[in-house]
Subunit: 398 residues, 2 copies
Amino acid sequence: MDEKWLPLGFRWSGHHCGLKSDPQKPDYSLVVSDRDAVCAGVYTQNLVCAAPVLWCRERTPMQSARVIVTNSGNANACTGSRGNADTKAMAADVARELGVEAEQVLVMSTGIIGEFLPMDKLKAAAVEGVGQLETGAEAFLRSANGILTTDQGHKVAGTIVETSQGPIRIATMAKGAGMIGPNMATMLASVVTDAGISEADAQSILKEAVDQSFNCISVEGHTSTNDTVLLLANGAATDGFLQGEDLGRVRSAVVETLITLAKQIPADGEGAEHLIEVRVNGAASRDDAKQIAETIAGSNLVKTCVTGNDPNWGRIASAAGYAGVPFAVSGFRLFLNEMLLFEGGEPCEFSAKTVSESMANGDTVKIRVELQEGSESACIWTSDLTTAYVVFNSDYHT
Amino acid sequence: MDEKWLPLGFRWSGHHCGLKSDPQKPDYSLVVSDRDAVCAGVYTQNLVCAAPVLWCRERTPMQSARVIVTNSGNANACTGSRGNADTKAMAADVARELGVEAEQVLVMSTGIIGEFLPMDKLKAAAVEGVGQLETGAEAFLRSANGILTTDQGHKVAGTIVETSQGPIRIATMAKGAGMIGPNMATMLASVVTDAGISEADAQSILKEAVDQSFNCISVEGHTSTNDTVLLLANGAATDGFLQGEDLGRVRSAVVETLITLAKQIPADGEGAEHLIEVRVNGAASRDDAKQIAETIAGSNLVKTCVTGNDPNWGRIASAAGYAGVPFAVSGFRLFLNEMLLFEGGEPCEFSAKTVSESMANGDTVKIRVELQEGSESACIWTSDLTTAYVVFNSDYHT
C-alpha cells in the first residue's frame, strides 16, 4: 500500500481482544474520523441478516458518522434480540471512550454464526482500541488486519484524485467473502475519503461502485448474513461537497479502487490456485450478460477444469446454455485465454496443449463468451475449486 | 432388481463397441419393443443441446416407437450439422437391422462433448447389438450398463401394478447426472411398460414423474446438454389404453419408481459420501419451497459441512436466507436429522456431538426447514462435496 492514499482527518487501530484463538491475530478494528463524516452503506440481501447489519442499515445514509468498529471471529448473526443489544453496546462502548454518540458509530461483525459475543472482552477492547488510534500506514494496516477471518492476508487499495480543490485521498480495506471457511460469514469492506460528498451522492457512488466490484465477484455464490460495505467521507480536504467534474472523478476513482479491492477476494479464495475472469459480450442486456457470466462462474465443473488446467470448453458452453438467457447458438463464440475454442455450434481446431499451458502459466484464466444478441457486457471474477477448499470447509467441527 | 418387473414384449442388449477405452465396459445399449409403442419424452432445457435431443424432441410424443438406442462415451453434443447426420445414421443403422423405420428409433448419447462419433464403430454396433437382443434380467442389466459413463454401477428400478386387466410391469434404468466427471454430459433414463397408455396420457405421466423425481435431484446444478427421459408403453399386457383408476395407479407407480431411480443418482455422485435430503415445508407455494430447497442443496458450504459431519446450521440458515424467497425469520425453524437447531432467529440448545454422530452414522443426512408462510412443500436430494469429487473433476486433461 501507499501511505499517500490515506485521507486526512482519520485515525485507525487494530488489536487482539480475545475473540480469535490465535493471540497474534487482531480481531478488533477501529476507523475514526476526527469530524462528522457523511456515511453511505450497502448491505447483504440475505433475509437472515446479522445484528450489526440491522444497526447500520437503519442509520445510513447519514451526515454525522464518526466511527466504524469491526470485530472478527464472531458474526453476531442468528443471535436474536440479545444480538441487537450487543451491537448497540459495542457502539456505545466506543462512543463513550471517544466522547461521541453511539448513533455516530457504525458496527460490522464477521466470524462464526449463532454464538453470542463475549461483551466483557469487547468492552475492554473499546478502551484499548481507542487508546491505540494513530494516523499512518502502520495503524491503517493494523485496522485492515483486524477485520480478517481466514484470509491469507489483508486486502487494501487506494488512490489519489486531483480535483479543482487539490488532491483528495481514498483508502479502502476488505475481508474475503465465502470460501473462507468454517461458519465464517461475510464480506466486509470500508471506503474512507477526505473528499466532501453529500449524503445522496455518497450513497449513489457507493451503490454504483459495489455493483461494479463486489457484486461482480463470486466464490461459491453464498450471499452471507453480514455483507456490509460502508463509505465515510469527512471532507477534511475540501471546502464543502464536491460537485460536477470533481465529483465525477471521485466517482470513477471509487469504482476503480473497489474493483481492484474486490478482485483480491477470489484471488485469495480458500485453496484457490487461479483467479477466473468470465466476460460476456454481445448480450441483449447487462442483466443477461451478468446472468450468463455468473452461471459459468458458479459451475463447479467449470471451476474444477480450471483447477486442472483443462481447456474443457464443453462444460463452459453447457453452463452458458443453462443460464436461462435465450441466445442463438449459431452466434455463440467461446474463447479461453483469448484462443477460440467453439464457434457457431461446432468445435474449433485448437491445440489443447497450448491452451492448457497458458492456463497453468498464468494466475488468471480468462473465459470470454461472445454473443450476437446485442451490445451489452458483464464481467465476473471467481476462484477455482480445489481439494484444499473442500478439506478446509469439511475438516471442521462446530 | 427383480425379473418380475420386466414388461412383456421387450428385448434388450448391451455390449462394448469401442467408444470407451475399457473393453469390459459396454457402451452401446438397445431397448426394443416387438410392436409399436407409444413414446413420450422429456428433455434438457439447455440451449446448447445435443443432436440426439433434437432428434427425439422433434418426434415425441409418438404412437409407433420401436427402439431406444443409446451410446455412452460420446455425447454427440456441440457437433453441429455433422452431429445431426450422425444421430440420424445411428437410428437408420438399427432400423435396417430390425426391419423398422428410422423414424421409429429414439436415440440417446452421453459422454464427451464436442467430438464426432466414430460412425464405423456404431454401424457395426447396430448389427451386433440387434443380434444379441434377449428377454430377461441379464439382457436388461447389460442394456442398463451400456448407458453408464463414470457411474459406480447401474441404476435400475421397477414395479408391478395390478389393474382391472391384470398385472402390468414397469422397468426403468438411468445413468448419473452431473458430478460424473470429465466432460461427461448427461442424465439419461428410460421407462418401459407393457401397459397400454395413450400418447397424451404418456406425456402427462412422464412430465409429472420427472418433475417429482429427476427435477428434484441436484448434484452440482449443471443442466447438461443431453438430459433425456423416454417412456415406451407397448400395451403388450393390456387390451387398448388404460383409463380411470387403472391409469391413476400406473401414474402413481411411474412417479414412485422414478423417485426411487432418481435418488440413486446423487447417492452415486462422484466421490459422494452422503445423500442429502433437503425438505422445505410451510411455504406459500411449491415454487418457493423448491427454490429454498435447491439453494440449500446447491451450496458448497452446506455440502462440505455435511461431508465433515458438522451440524453447521448457520450455513444452512444463511443459504435459505439468500434464496430470493421472502419469509419471516421469526417463523423459521431448522432441523438436522430431526433435531431442532435454530428457531425464530435464535440458536437452540443442542448437543453438537449427538447431531454430528447421527450424520456420521447414516447414509442420508436430512435437512428440514419449516416456514410459517403457507402449506406447500418440496424436497430435493443431493450429494455432499468431497475431495474425491474435486480430484476426479480436475485431474483430467482434454
